[in-house]
Amino acid sequence: MEKDMERRLYADTGAPEGSPVVNPDPRTLGDSSNIQLFNEQLKLLNSGLTEEDRLNFCDTPPEVIKPFRGHWENFLNWARSESLWILGFGTGCGAIELRPLMTSRFDMYQYGIQPRPTPRQSSIFVIGGYASVKTMKRIVRSYEQMQGPKFVLGLGSCTINGGMYYDSYNTVNRLDHYIPVDVYIAGCMPRPEALLAGLMELKTIIKEGRGEGANKYAENFEWYKANQKRIIKDWNMPDYNW
């Protein structure tokens, strides 16, 4: 049954067969150019904000939080994987593919997956299709507001390489340069089954302890930030959105 689904999943897409794309290693992809993020006390500069606004935003950078060791962490990872709460933020056309998952045909609830309206409570962010620069800004903010451990699922070819909008002045080509992505699902658009398969894949990743996107983001914070700031011109948010 599962195999069957997987077949269907990849049948219509032009993307190569195989497992979802792994995250790039940031260190191989250039430096954080000339964007200064921190001051001497390792506080965020929040240079996009006015003096007045800075009072209203927290200026703590994200931290790498070490997981527990051993069975306890495995147990927690199991719980995390079995209780995936999706952030209800439809960033692109792919968001429409989320709806069928809630219906009785696909019923994601049986896998412990359910939608949540606020990033604070969600653990998985489904980027539904192309991410324009304008949306990217909101994606970044929402992603940073989620509490770790948190996972990102890139849905559709656009998130992988820009898809049919690869030459648009306004669509990012590689999502994983801006936020860490755990699973990509190729297709334009992938069907709900594909999405479901991607979620299952994510579950295994989490259970294996590989779903450390949040820590990766914190670790490579400057690189991600530089990439984000490179495209988001009017950065009027704090540097890290708690």
Binding site: L76, S83, G88, T103, S104, R116, P117, T118, R120, Q121
Partner: protein
């Protein structure tokens, strides 16, 4: 003295464990039942456990201030308190909790404790949806409190006591002695009020997913949310136990386990009733909800009171 305290602590712990686990399973199974009704498979029965564990297991959290931090604590304390001031199973010391320190009025007012704390926590989060949800919830609360109060007053008038234990005691001796049958108007008013109290459709104005997604706990997450979920279980359990005690004869048997089983069955049915109503109706607007409760249920409650006082 010390041994008495220790015993009491132990009993309290047992009592809490029972209600927590039962209520979590109840929520899980009810979700599954609803799923079946909708033709879905539905989440596992133990899904609430996983969710709570996951939330407690979150690695980071943010706090907006002291009240935000304490809000869920208040909420849980409210739920625990409400539960602990009631006898759960009639006739067993282990499950009489702290019902000796206050009567029905205490329980009714202790419900406010958690709500106030939660409201304060939600308020300090600074998110506009939180107070919006709180204001809706409080407004609706005053409305359903009226029929509920009338029902309670009717029962008090009927039995001449405010003690829950005594109310339960007065209902012993067969189903025909239950308030539900000796004082049906009070039961109807109370059960209608219970719909509002459990915040399911059509009275889900607080969470209101389409308008103010999730309402008060918008900013609540991680362990805070875990705490709220714990409370949701315990508080729900407490409310159902309260209604069981008030209207449905309480739970009693000479064997403890059987008594608990009776409690389980009765509360399950009460919860089922709420869910059936919830699954069948769309949501009211806040003002419609208020008008609803101050309409028919209140009139029924008044009838119940008048019938008892003449």
């Amino acid at each position: 003295m010390l041994s008495a305290i220790l015993t009491k602590t132990f009993y309290t712990f047992i009592s809490l464990m029972v209600i927590l686990n039962y209520a979590l399973l109840l929520i899980g199974s009810m979700a599954r039942i609803r799923a079946k009704v909708q033709g879905r498979v539905g989440q596992p029965v133990w899904q609430p456990y996983i969710d709570i564990i996951k939330n407690y297991g979150k690695r980071t959290a943010v706090t907006h201030g002291v009240m935000f931090y304490l809000g869920p604590v208040f909420r849980l304390a409210g739920g625990l308190g409400t539960y602990l001031f009631m006898p759960v199973v009639y006739g067993f010391v282990m499950f009489e909790n702290f019902s000796f320190s206050g009567d029905l009025l205490l329980v009714m007012y202790f419900i406010f404790f958690g709500q106030l704390g939660m409201a304060l926590g939600a308020g300090e989060s600074g998110h506009p949806y939180s107070p919006l949800g709180v204001s809706r919830g409080l407004a609706q609360m005053t409305a359903f409190e009226l029929p509920f109060a009338l029902a309670v007053i009717s029962i008090v008038a009927q039995y001449g006591t405010l003690s829950i234990t005594e109310i339960v005691a007065a209902q012993q001796g067969g189903w025909q002695n239950w308030v539900a049958f000796t004082n049906p108007f009070a039961m109807i008013a109370g059960m209608l009020a219970f719909l509002g109290m459990s915040m399911q459709n059509p009275f889900s104005v607080v969470i209101a997913p389409q308008e103010i997604p999730i309402g008060p706990p918008t900013e609540m997450h991680s362990a805070f949310l875990g705490m709220l979920q714990t409370n949701r279980a315990i508080f729900n359990g407490a409310k159902m136990v309260l209604f069981m005690n008030l209207f449905w004869g309480g739970a009693t048997h000479k064997y403890l386990l059987v008594a608990i089983l009776i409690m389980v069955v009765k509360t399950f049915l009460i919860y089922l009733y709420v869910n059936i109503v919830g699954a069948s109706f769309p949501r009211f607007k806040t003002e419609q909800s208020i008008r609803f409760f101050l309409g028919v249920p209140t009139i029924i409650g008044i009838i119940a009171v008048i019938l008892q006082s003449i």
